[in-house]
């Protein structure tokens, strides 16, 4: 009886796995650190144009490990992710393969892709300062360095210092000022916090609207998306967007990107999708639907994003930011930023 039960359970499992294998035809498989619903409009447009089906697994963690262990038999063709350090990690573990491709090289500027084509950026986003319209004068805060000024004591909100977007910003501070000075700056910023770091970038803008603090840090598209969401518009209108360091080195930027995996069983289709995502149609969807900055210089940011003024991006190589990640994480622990 026990054996029978086990046997029937095994059959049920086998039946369910069989349906997965039966899936053949023209397709491309993606491991994504971004939610599937964000990719949906882009992938739908791709399938419509090429007839190639797209398959996605989304998770916040563990996909690199899955890819690594699956090895040469991995079904994944592409990894899509945000944050330069995450992409760099894939490269360092040898999970991506180099790609020489004219279309991609033409569409994506050299500083937004790996020198050997082991990853390509699809969009960029600036890490902005948001200031209360009511309580902060125009021009009163204009650089990341200003955030450590004691005049802001008890007036700044940020998300966790361990979040990849903050870590990348702190890495860039290490690159520009050296580790010691960057740590002093971070300690100064921590000292100015109005509350323990929590929530996401949107929550910090809401906190300004609520009067909890006057200044916050956040990626550009969160602000744009809040302005376009009728439930969150009021909070977003309580703040003014500031492009930090516009007059000197420029605003710190990060990327969302794509990489071709080592195994890539559907390599041709995968490259077609990469090309498609770098071209105008997809780049416009990125710009309009998620208010990000297109990586392709021939595509303009959305009208809303353009209305904030032109972004002068920090020219610090993204690789340097990835290289400083570990130092930045440890620095956050040392100044006890999240407590």
């Amino acid at each position: 009886m026990q054996l029978k039960l086990i046997a029937s359970a095994a059959m049920a499992i086998a039946a369910s796995t069989a349906s997965v294998w039966a899936n053949a035809g023209e397709e491309v498989n993606i491991y994504s650190y971004r939610q599937a619903y964000l990719l949906e409009p882009l992938l739908e447009a791709f399938t419509e144009e090429t007839g190639i089906e797209t398959n996605v697994v989304f998770a916040r963690s563990g996909l690199a490990e899955r890819l690594e262990r699956e090895g040469q038999n991995s079904p994944a063709d592409l990894v899509m992710t945000v944050d330069i350090s995450r992409i760099n990690e894939l490269v360092e573990r040898g999970l991506t393969q180099p790609l020489q491709n004219d279309v991609l090289e033409q569409n994506i500027p050299a500083h937004l892709r790996h020198p050997d084509g082991k990853w390509f950026a699809l969009t960029t986003r600036g890490r902005m300062i948001y200031a209360s319209v009511d309580r902060v004068e125009e021009g009163e805060i204009s650089t990341y360095e200003d955030l450590a000024d004691p005049k802001w004591e008890g007036r700044i909100c940020t998300r966790s210092g361990k979040h990849p977007y903050n870590i990348a910003l702190f890495s860039s501070m290490i690159a520009h000022h050296g580790e010691q000075e960057a740590e002093q700056w971070l300690a100064g910023l921590k000292n100015n916090l109005a509350r323990k770091p929590q929530g996401g970038d949107r929550d910090q803008i809401k906190a300004i609207a609520e009067g909890v603090c006057d200044v916050s840090l956040g990626n550009s598209y969160y602000y744009g998306n809040m302005l376009e969401d009728e439930n969150q518009r009021e909070a977003a209108e309580a703040v003014r967007i500031v492009f930090p360091n516009a007059d000197d080195r420029g605003t710190h930027i990060n990327i969302s990107g794509i990489a071709l995996t080592n195994s890539a069983p559907n390599q041709e289709n995968a490259i077609r999708l990469m090309e498609f995502l770098s071209q105008e149609k997809a780049q416009q969807i990125y710009a309009e639907a998620n208010t990000e900055y297109p990586a392709n210089p021939n595509v303009q940011p959305s009208g809303l994003v353009a209305s904030w003024g032109e972004m002068h991006a920090d020219s610090l190589p993204l690789q340097t930011i990835a290289d400083n990640r570990e130092a930045a994480v440890k620095m956050v622990d040392r100044v006890d930023y999240d407590n």
């Binding site: 009886m1 026990q2 039960l5 086990i6 359970a9 049920a12 499992i13 086998a14 369910s16 796995t17 997965v20 294998w21 899936n23 498989n29 939610q35 599937a36 619903y37 398959n55 996605v56 697994v57 989304f58 998770a59 916040r60 963690s61 563990g62 996909l63 490990e65 899955r66 262990r69 699956e70 090895g71 040469q72 038999n73 991995s74 079904p75 990690e89 966790s160 361990k162 990849p164 870590i167 323990k196 929590q198 929530g199 996401g200 949107r202 809401k206 906190a207 609520e210 009067g211 909890v212 909070a235 990640r325 570990e326 994480v329 440890k330 622990d333 040392r334 006890d336 999240d338 407590n339």
Partner: protein
């Protein structure tokens, strides 16, 4: 059933007798099963030997003390909440007459159907500055900004403790109630006749007898608290699990993260061992007495009201409020949510959870019974090891699952390539099998633990009688034990089912392409602060949990007659 309430007698040496004529088949299959189930856990321990860098000096110098104290406070708070709610409600429902008692018998379990991450999102949306509660307060009192008044911060250690406690207390309630129902009323009567008050009897007789069951319930609660990441992350509470994810994701040091996970496991093992050690000289057989009906206390009106409130509060906070909030969102966004994707996701969830519950139950019974036959040190260690999946954060366990599965797939593939020239590719990785396997490893503690504690209460003379009448060990299991344990088995399977419906982190990582369960579907929106868009699937997770809960409670209530 024989009446011989031998409470806390010294353990009789019956085990060799049971095992004497047992075929080796049980032992071998138990060892094999445990080994397979333990593979993911062993994989994580293995990873711990290969860190990219020794993280401990840095952790000890900086955040470790805080991680530890926060974790300790969280576990202490959750223990206090779950024990208080679970024991008090189980006791008054079993022993007192008050209006609504029969309803609360099963309604107390309702919060169990609400995933911790969902209750966290719901309460945040209700209680934060822009939520309806604070808006109403501001309107009433004329406040204009957050600086004008004080309001408790839901995103805090206290908030996380409350949220986790509210959805986990049913574990304690469930096991406490089953234990109280099984206790012979004559014990209570004897204690009273010897001059103890009801309260003193409760603490000196009732609770000590229920202790093994309470320990199982509480250890499930604490393991789930320890491995929770969603809630603590959302509330910015820095537990050891937060440190683990930081080491893994930000420092890219998987080995270091595995070391933290292994440390957490060690911690759990020590806790469980201590609890067992402290009652090592107790054994309870046949304390069960289903014939003497329980005589419930008749209380004064005010005390009845008190009982009613004590039961109502946890259900109201842990179930009614979240369910109503979700129902409200689901109604608003119904047209958007009700589509073929939603139906497919529901089918996926039900099918996966059902398969996993069945598998977990079968393996749990096999292991617990093997241990009854061969209660050796080796078997005990194996059992403990295979139950550790519950104490590990889901995402880490998922990596532990990938390692042996992908390893097996690639090994088979290379053999097939070299001998037959065909590639089998990945047979198991990235299929629903991987998910069922992960769920089994994760929730085996639930089924094996409850089956084991129920089996312990069956007097060995049952086995002896059956065996001496010519039944094999398997025959004894099927003809004697399984029918007697019907209630326990059903309960265990249903708890696993509900747990699988809610499981998120391992499902995210291990699932096949384009495969969504209700939980993963809810998460991708809720994690983007768009809970309203996924309220319908969230509500279905909750409702799917209710049906087993009603069945579960019936099966427990039916175990004894009540006057």
């Amino acid at each position: 059933m024989s009446q011989q309430p031998t409470i806390s007698a010294d353990q009789p040496h019956h085990q060799p007798l049971l095992a004497r004529r047992t075929s080796k088949r049980w032992l071998l299959s138990a060892i094999l099963t445990t080994a397979i189930v333990a593979l993911p856990i062993l994989s994580v321990i293995y990873l711990a030997f290969f860190p990219d860098e020794n993280i401990w000096p840095h952790l000890v110098d900086t955040t470790l003390p805080r991680y530890l104290t926060t974790t300790f406070k969280l576990m202490l708070g959750v223990t206090a909440i779950t024990l208080t709610i679970g024991i008090i409600t189980a006791w008054v429902i079993t022993m007192c007459n008050f209006p609504g008692r029969r309803f609360f018998e099963w309604a107390m379990l309702l919060p169990f159907a609400v995933p911790a991450y969902v209750i966290a999102y719901v309460y945040t949306s209700l209680l934060d500055y822009a939520g309806p509660v604070q808006i109403a307060l501001r309107e009433v009192f004329g406040w204009t900004s957050a600086q004008d008044y004080w309001f408790p911060e839901i995103r805090s250690l206290g908030g996380a403790t409350l949220m986790i406690g509210l959805v986990l207390y049913p574990y304690v309630y469930l096991l406490a109630r089953a234990a109280f129902l099984e206790q012979s009323p004559s014990l209570f009567a004897v204690s009273r006749s010897l001059g103890h008050s009801a309260l003193s009897t409760f603490f000196r007789v009732v609770l000590p007898i229920a202790r093994p069951a309470l320990a199982v319930g509480l250890s499930l609660v604490l393991m789930e608290t320890l491995n929770d990441f969603g809630t603590v992350d959302f509330f910015a509470v820095q537990t050891l699990t937060a440190g683990l994810f930081d080491t893994w994701m930000n420092l890219g040091n998987l080995g270091g993260a595995a070391q933290i996970a292994t440390t957490m496991l060690t911690f759990v093992v020590i806790l469980v061992t201590l609890e067992r050690y402290s009652r090592r000289r107790q054994a309870q057989f046949a304390a069960r007495d289903n014939r003497t009906p329980i005589t419930r206390f008749n209380l004064s009106r005010s005390k009845q009201l008190l009982c009613l409130l004590a039961c109502l509060m946890p259900v109201f906070l842990g179930f009614v409020i979240p369910a109503l909030t979700l129902a409200n969102f689901a109604y608003e966004y119904f047209a958007e949510s009700w589509n073929t994707t939603f139906i497919r996701n529901t089918v996926n969830s039900l099918f996966l959870s059902g398969t996993a519950a069945l598998t977990t139950l079968i393996i749990g019974v096999a292991l617990a019974y093997s241990r009854r036959l061969h209660n050796t040190k080796g078997m005990q260690v194996l059992m403990r090891l295979s139950s550790l999946g519950y104490a590990m954060p889901g995402a880490v366990l998922a990596v532990g699952v990938i390692i042996p599965l992908a390893g097996f797939d690639n090994w088979l593939d290379s053999i097939m390539r070299s001998t037959f020239g065909i590639s089998t590719g990945l047979l198991l990785s990235g299929t629903t099998f991987a998910l069922v396997f992960a769920y089994t490893v994760r929730f085996l503690a639930v089924s094996a633990g409850s089956v084991e504690s129920a089996l312990q209460k069956v007097t060995p003379s049952m086995d002896m009688a059956s065996r001496s009448l010519g039944h094999s060990p398997s025959g004894t299991l099927i003809k004697i034990h399984l029918p007697m344990l019907r209630g326990t088995l059903l309960t265990a399977a249903l708890v696993v089912f509900v747990d699988c419906m809610k499981e998120l982190p391992a499902t995210l990582i291990l699932r096949p392409f384009n495969f969504e369960t209700l939980a993963t579907y809810v998460y991708q929106f809720a994690s983007d602060e768009r809970l309203a868009h996924s309220a319908l699937p969230a509500l279905i997770i909750v409702i799917a949990g209710i049906i087993p809960i009603i069945l579960m409670s019936r099966s427990i209530g039916n175990t004894r007659s009540v006057a």
